[in-house]
Amino acid sequence: MHLLIIDSFYIWEKLILVVFIVTLCMLVAMYATYGERKVAAFLQDRIGPNRAGPFGIFQPLADGGKLFFKEEIIPLASSRTLFVIGPMLAMTTALLTSAVIPWGPALHIKNRNVPFQIADINIGILYIFGVVSLGVYGIMIGGWASNNKFSLLAAIRGASQMISYELAMGLALIALLMLTGSLQMSDIVDHQVHGRWGGFLSWHIVRQPLGFLIFFICALAECNRTPFDLAEAENELNFGYHQEYSSMKLGFYLFAEYINMFISGVVMSTLFLGGYDIPFVNEASWHIDPNWLAVIGFCVLLAKAFFFVFVFMWIRWTVPRFRYDQLMNLGWKKLIPLALLNMIVTAVVVLWMRK
């Protein structure tokens, strides 16, 4: 792979892709807020927002508009620059992950094979890890810059939680990497596409159920979602690290959270649910235009991601929040040993199979 071989088409292709994906992420995040409210309402036998537009479909726009026009308050005692940088970082890191996701099968435009992926780097998973590990900074900086003890506590809670769960997450993934033998996201997806039952049996969720479970739990923790939302526990810490934030900066934080949710759904789909693979059917035998195939694959991936987003919300309204010591116990004393066990078992099986 050569990083810096650039021609104009390449630049345009990537630029469009970036714009598309970022927009997509934003859009999804917007509607994820709507979805969250709706799902919450439905799970609680309510209807949810339904006034703005049909079924409240314009609710996110209204919320956005409201956030934009709210007064922007920067506390006097805060660290001004960092106070501003915090939400920016949160947003950026949330969006950065999407760069290595293969959103669908490659497109064919003007006889060129255009991968439906911003950067197909060979250390894709590591990249995701790197970016995820940076996600802490948004929270920490924001919480610290607010100069508020609740914010600070929440930030520290959030940071330690994220660091802790990153370990189990990585260990769970190592088992998966043993199966694929590659860190490249497209390779991982390819690895799952071809298999029986239209690829379903080679999905990693089938082969690595425990790994998936651990990864899923860790993803919840990484996204600061209930039951791991200690960083923004309203009834304990007054809204957590973004307590002092208002207006669109708060919006950024909330957005970042939903983007994270979406992206982690996408990542999980990619890693464990075969990415853009449609289960139980063999897409290659359809003989249709690859571009259409890409679109279908993209939709399938989105569907899987939305499913995960839905599950996240579902869990949020089902499971109560952990206490902090329980959280740490779970992370360090349960998930990491489990992940190690999973890793060892996988290693043994892989070696045995290879023999």
Partner: protein
């Protein structure tokens, strides 16, 4: 001894390994929540739809008038005495000649205030009133921006004059039979 029919015996057996992972419990909980996802929603689109109140619903107080539109209250203070939340205060005044069309008795309440933040809508005032001057209506105490707004003055409480504005009067009285 069971106090109710719905009491349930708590299962205190030690959990087995699978249960200790809490996954079954969580899955069960998620099953419960998702079942609610598909249940009929209880929401009422309030301004458009309204919930029908029961006959004994106790809402915001109103000060009643007689058929001629005169205030019934004579500022005897029994309601204030009866109020467990001590939400009612009043000041009495003597009816001056020429005010007979305003007040039914010689004494009337020059000032009558109910603190809606205190009121518990028990209805004791209504029971205590010898003159049928105070009633609990079927409306809500409306939201307000400051605490002062929740101290309802006589003007806020007094029912519209049936002579001058019979339509408003009827609305205020609602279904409730006026004694």
């Amino acid at each position: 001894m069971q106090l109710t029919q719905r009491a349930k015996q708590v299962d205190r057996r030690p959990m087995n390994g699978w249960e200790k992972s809490y996954l079954p419990a969580i899955l069960k909980g998620m099953g419960i929540t998702i079942s609610h996802f598909f249940k009929k929603k209880a929401t009422i689109q309030y301004p458009e739809q309204k919930r029908t109140f029961s006959k004994v619903f106790r809402g915001v107080q109103i000060l009643n008038r007689d058929e001629e539109g005169r205030e019934r209250c004579t500022a005897c203070g029994l309601c204030a005495v009866a109020c467990p939340a001590e939400a009612i205060t009043m000041e009495a005044a003597e009816r001056q000649p020429g005010e007979e069309h305003l007040y039914r008795e010689e004494k009337y309440a020059a000032k009558y205030e109910i603190n809606m933040l205190r009121c518990i809508f028990c209805g004791y005032c209504e029971e205590a009133c010898p003159k049928d001057a105070i009633y609990l209506s079927q409306t809500f105490a409306q939201a307000n921006y400051d605490r002062k707004g929740f101290i309802y003055k006589k003007e806020d409480l007094l029912i519209p004059n049936p002579k001058e504005d019979p339509e408003a009067y009827r609305r205020a009285v609602g279904e409730r039979p006026v004694k």
